[in-house]
């Protein structure tokens, strides 16, 4: 008995030692040095200010220069966990109305000045309460915040008007860079053209539309990080360019994602020299009929459009050609708050029995007085992946219920102009009839996913006030109980589907190809995340 206890104790001891040393072993395996070269699949950033911008074209080149208060843990696959970056820890009060963050000591800006809660306060005031003339693209996400204060140099307190589980994830948005209070005091627009943060890399050079360069910040607050000596991001808008660059080894990665055919080609040619990581992408491709225009003011016609789509079948074959795959509703598929598979299949347009769905669609069209061969124009964006590919699929799906649809492809500026048209001009001849639409979020958060559909959202292009939707959104936003929030979100989904003012087609599928020499980078469901590159190293 004593012997058994002794051996058990020894085993536990070695197991404990092993567990302690395991991360160290990993850290030892990591190699220091090298320059990571990646492509940013864009023609350039409109500005360098993350607070103002919504595009990956700003995040991919600038994220390595900044830190966030809290972040989506870059080392946990699936973007499922949050961790503090500038925040050492945080505490939420029992009533969920006060969030207190303790801030790390010893954090420095790249100009050598120490970072304190004053900088965090100035940053978050700019994000939540931007002064007139200063744009904060995600201000609406922080509507629950009443005040922000900094009681001492290393504490920051957020007081809320109402409790909301959405806040903490919204705070981890990769755009919420910590800026210097001194700089913001002098010029609120400084960061649109300049870079100066506390991130793992220090800014070296930015040539608009060409490249951005950074070097390791020696005073970065995490000891031993970053591993890389330097980074360089190259702007390139053509797929053929970044495929050739990956194939020849000119770059280590392009972090946005590649279509299936390009992925397969690269893997076939380069074999183990390249690695592919895949994930569901937190972007839904939607269809939005113009509810102000006949015959789409009739809910039966809108429902028929959704019923015609063979989402399950389309997922199978479209995923081989386009960056779409997952069947889902308004909430990110697979999230605990998303509808279950059975729930989803019970929704109109999501049934696996496509024949029955299309028969119903034809019946609805007949009831609404829509003749066979009815013509309308579907407006789409002039971007191949996934817009035009899915657009062609949609045309064929609607043909199968007797509709004759023409696709009109617009350049991005015209496309946005068409979607954003004011409510009072939705009946104009030039207003869209049925349009492609999409919903991309930077973090996985159901509240953010569904925020697009509320009446007061700027990205709700239906321009319809639906008080039922607004009420459900508001209730789930304030609901701290998980099961109740899930039930509210399910009702939200049912309401969306029954009205069919806008509906999902398929969710995107992300596949990132990178050099096998690039280590310690995990794919996430969002192409906005994991661009800090702090843990990435090169095996060379």
């Amino acid at each position: 008995m004593i012997l058994r206890t002794f051996f058990a104790a020894v085993a536990v001891f070695f197991l404990a030692i092993g567990l302690v040393l395991m991360p160290l072993a990993d850290a030892q395996a990591a190699k220091r040095g090298g320059k990571l070269i990646y492509m940013i699949p864009s023609k350039g950033a409109k500005s360098l200010d993350g607070h103002k911008e919504t595009s990956f074209a700003t995040v991919h080149p600038t994220a390595p220069f900044y830190s966030l208060l809290i972040q989506v843990d870059p080392l946990v696959p699936g973007a499922k966990k949050l961790k503090g970056e500038i925040a050492k820890s945080w505490k939420i009060s029992a009533d969920n109305l006060t969030y207190t963050f303790k801030i790390r000591r010893g954090v420095k800006f790249h100009n050598g000045t120490p970072m304190t809660s004053r900088d965090v306060l100035a940053t978050w005031n700019k994000l939540v309460f931007p002064p007139k003339g200063v744009l904060s693209a995600r201000k609406q996400m922080f509507s629950m915040v009443k005040s922000i204060s900094a009681p001492d140099d290393y504490t920051i307190v957020f007081k809320l008007k109402f409790a909301s589980p959405a806040l903490i994830w919204a705070m981890a948005m990769p755009f919420n860079y910590i800026y210097s209070a001194d700089i913001l005091e002098k010029d609120m627009h400084y960061y649109e053209k300049n870079i100066m943060g506390t991130g793992p890399f220090k800014f070296v050079e930015y040539v608009p539309r060409v490249r951005i360069k950074g070097e390791r910040f020696k005073d970065y607050f995490v000891a031993g990080r970053p591993y890389l000596d330097a980074i360089e991001g190259i702007f390139a808008s053509k797929q053929s360019v970044y495929v050739a660059a990956l194939e020849s080894g000119r770059i280590h990665s392009m972090f946005r994602g590649l279509p299936p055919a390009a992925v397969e080609d690269l893997l076939r040619i380069k074999g183990s020299a390249l690695t592919v990581q895949r994930s569901v992408w937190n972007c839904a491709l939607n269809v939005t009929p113009n509810s102000y225009k006949k015959p789409f003011d009739d809910v039966r016609v809108r429902r028929a459009l959704s019923l015609a789509l063979d989402r399950w079948g389309g997922s199978g074959y479209l995923s081989k050609r386009a960056i779409v795959k997952t069947v889902g509703g308004a909430v990110f598929p697979g999230h605990p708050l998303a509808p279950s598979r059975a729930q989803l299949e019970s929704l109109e347009g999501y049934s696996r029995d496509i024949k029955a769905s299309r028969a119903k669609a034809r019946r609805l069209l007949k009831e609404a007085g829509i003749p066979k061969g009815f013509k309308f124009t579907f407006r789409n964006r002039t971007t191949d992946q996934p817009y035009k590919v899915v657009g062609i699929w949609l045309l064929d799906q609607w043909r199968q219920i007797g509709l004759n649809v023409k696709q009109e492809v617009l350049p991005t500026s015209k496309f946005w102009d068409s979607l954003r048209r004011p409510k009072n001009r939705m009946t104009d001849a030039s207003a869209y009839v049925v349009s492609m639409d999409f919903n991309c979020q930077a973090v996985v958060n159901p509240t953010l996913d569904v925020s697009k559909y509320v009446s007061y959202s700027g990205s709700n292009y239906t321009k319809i006030e639906d008080t039922v939707i607004d009420d459900l959104f508001d209730r789930q936003l304030r609901e701290p109980d998980f099961d109740k929030q899930k039930a509210l979100l399910w009702k939200f989904q049912q309401r969306l589907t029954s009205q069919a003012r806008t509906f999902s087609t398929l969710w995107w599928q992300r596949a990132v190809v990178h050099s096998s020499k690039m280590k310690n980078w995990n794919i996430t469901p969002s192409h906005y995340l994991n661009m800090g590159l702090v843990d990435v190293w090169l095996d060379q």
């Binding site: 492509m39 023609k43 350039g44 950033a45 409109k46 500005s47 911008e53 919504t54 595009s55 990956f56 007139k132 003339g133 744009l135 693209a137 995600r138 609406q140 649109e192 053209k193 040539v207 608009p208 539309r209 060409v210 490249r211 360089e232 190259i234 702007f235 390139a236 808008s237 053509k238 053929s240 360019v241 050739a244 660059a245 194939e247 020849s248 080894g249 000119r250 770059i251 040619i269 380069k270 350049p411 991005t412 500026s413 015209k414 946005w416 102009d417 954003r420 004011p422 030039s430 999409f438 919903n439 991309c440 925020s451 697009k452 959202s457 700027g458 990205s459």
Partner: protein, 319 residues
């Protein structure tokens, strides 16, 4: 002569003015909104009020004549304003884009001259022989092959030849910073565009040399017993060069701002790319400045061609 040159130079001003007026009007007739492009991006939740504020900040709520005069006054002082999309100085955008486009244009022009004049002349001198047929096939192929397609084939060819171990660089570095890196990137677009360019000039050289060789003065020169080399170089070629110079000059002007797809294939942030992006995004300030620049290059090249005419052909006098 000088009075003519000054008069020609001054005529450039109304030409450029009318070009900018037309572009100013056309740009405002195209549907789309630069402010929406700027603020909405990938579907940002922006209110109509924020859009109005930005429109006011950019001066888009002012009347068109006021907007134009404001811009024209700045342009007179070489201040082309700021990009409506990025807020960057337009001059800086051009400064970044111009060197690459200019370098490709110069390299392609040199390639064209080096190929077109000797081969075109040789083909004319050996009319209807295998030399002529080869040169004609080579030039017709050049005319029929789009530069961007040739560029793509070059990249694919390089990847195949090097077993996917090498491709041209895809980020532009000026030649004065790293000549080898720069040339290893730009030689390919220069070859791709220079080939088509040389094909045009080659056919022109061949046909004009053929025409000149039938002139009386060539027969006279030969009858005088001049060496064939002198007849060709001094009498035939010099006279045949007038239309060739025109073609080369006009092609050069086109190359400076017109290599849109080739620039995209090789990922060159040149003027052609900047031009198209700005038109798509309705970035008025950038488009207006670029049109002015390209129009200036074209008008200036015409001016230079006129001067070259007088130099090449002593019979031409601008007195």
């Amino acid at each position: 002569m000088y009075r003519y040159l000054i008069r020609r130079f001054l005529l450039m001003i109304p030409t450029l003015f009318f070009v900018t007026v037309i572009v100013f009007i056309l740009m405002r007739m195209i549907p789309g909104d630069v402010v929406v492009m700027k603020l909405v991006g990938e579907g940002a939740d922006v209110t109509e009020e924020q859009i109005e504020i930005e429109r006011e900040n950019l001066g888009l709520n002012r009347s068109y004549p006021v907007q134009f005069l404001d811009w024209a006054w700045g342009a007179l002082k070489f201040d082309f304003g700021k990009s409506m999309l990025t807020g960057d100085d337009v001059s800086r955008d051009i400064k970044i884009a111009l060197p690459a486009s200019l370098q490709i244009a110069i390299m392609a022009t040199l390639l064209s001259i080096v190929l077109a004049i000797p081969l075109g002349t040789w083909a004319a001198l050996r009319q209807d022989t295998w030399v002529d047929y080869c040169v004609r096939i080579f030039s017709i192929a050049g005319l029929a092959t789009p530069s961007f397609w040739l560029g793509m084939m070059m990249i694919i060819g390089i990847l195949i030849i090097t077993d996917s171990q090498w491709a041209p660089p895809f980020d532009y570095i000026p030649i004065w910073e790293d000549p080898w890196y720069n040339l290893s990137m730009l030689i390919w677009p220069a070859l791709a565009t220079g080939y088509r360019y040389s094909a045009v000039a080659m056919r022109m050289t061949r046909s004009t040399v053929l025409e000149v060789l039938r002139e009386d003065y060539i027969r006279t020169a030969r009858a005088k017993g001049l060496l064939e080399r002198i007849v060709i170089n001094r009498h035939a070629l010099t006279n045949a060069m007038l239309p060739v110079v025109t073609v080369i000059g006009m092609e050069f002007a086109f190359l400076v701002g017109g290599l849109v797809v080739t620039e995209q294939v090789f990922n060159i942030a040149g003027l052609g790319n900047l031009f198209v992006d700005s038109v798509i995004q309705k970035d008025y300030m950038v488009v207006q400045a670029l049109v002015l620049l390209v129009a200036f290059v074209i008008v200036f090249m015409n001016f230079m061609i006129d001067i070259l005419y007088a130099w090449l052909d002593p019979r031409i006098s601008y007195a």
